[in-house]
Amino acid sequence: MPSFLGGLLGPPLRSAIFAGKFLAFTHLFLEYGYSTAPAHGPSMLPTFEVLGEWLLVSRRYSFGRGVEIGDLIAYNIPVNDGVGVKRLLGLPGDYVLVDTPGNSDNAMIQVPQGHCWIVGDNLPASRDSRIFGPVPLALIRGKVIGRIKPFRFQWIENPLKRVEGP
């Protein structure tokens, strides 16, 4: 056995501690650095396909730190234990349509403090804030910054452009 492996495997306790430290460091990276989220389901068509894509998520934006309208965000679904990806359409204080556009009386509500309004790109096939209401910013896991297809990577940017005032 090569000597460096011998040092790594060394006494059992020391190698167990090393493995534990390494796992904890990985956790730190996934929690505060970058992690992935699945893009399953039809709710984000045509931005993401139904199957076969994974997303790169920046955890710097977790708990809604510095998110902007138009960002794709990964969030903990408030009504079950899954993770979803949707588009951010309203921040605290904004007025948003409660229902699908043109579907009912176009009632609007103001997003309460500490909450956001998130909607899927494929309106008929998405369960989002139109169903479970405003989502607490604390449930945001991070911002989607890239798309991982098999053998291909693509950065994702906010499609909205800030317009300069007159």
Binding site: G20, K21, L23, A24, F25, H27, L28, E31, F63, G64, N76, I77, P78, V79, N80, D81, P112, Q113, G114, H115, F132, P136, L137, A138, L139, I140
Partner: protein, 170 residues
Amino acid sequence: MSTKNFLGQFTGHLIRYATWLPPLIWFNTYVAQVTLINGPSMYPYLNPQYHESLRRDLCLVYKLYAQLDLERGMLVTFRNPYDPEKITVKRIIGLEGDVVRARPPFPHEYIEVPQGHIWVEGDGEKSKDSNYYGPISVRLITGRITHILSPLNRAGRVKWWEHPSHRAGI
């Protein structure tokens, strides 16, 4: 010992100690954490002397599987829905499906707690709880308060099952 030698050893020790930080953070996130309680919202159960002294209660927050098997009466810590950077302590009053009698300023008198949500209230009068922001999602919960560590005369397990709301179930 030369200065260079000393600095070298010092950095070596620092790095060796720093490798224990990730396991410590992991432990505090997923297993248990010791925390001080701020404010009067759980008066008189926690911080009973908040108006007499600056001393705050020291509590053990148990975080392993904190979102599973919730029961009425438990003390939970969660990220405040109105302020994501703030962790709040409240008592569970209603679970998913329960009909809870709300107090002002909540707009309705009765409310059925929706799927995946709980109704939380503070024990004290000065409490901004579900009566302010409505039922909260279970996903916001970060831990449960299981033990009071300090002051010593009240130290011990939190007997949440003795609270009347545990048997309430309207």
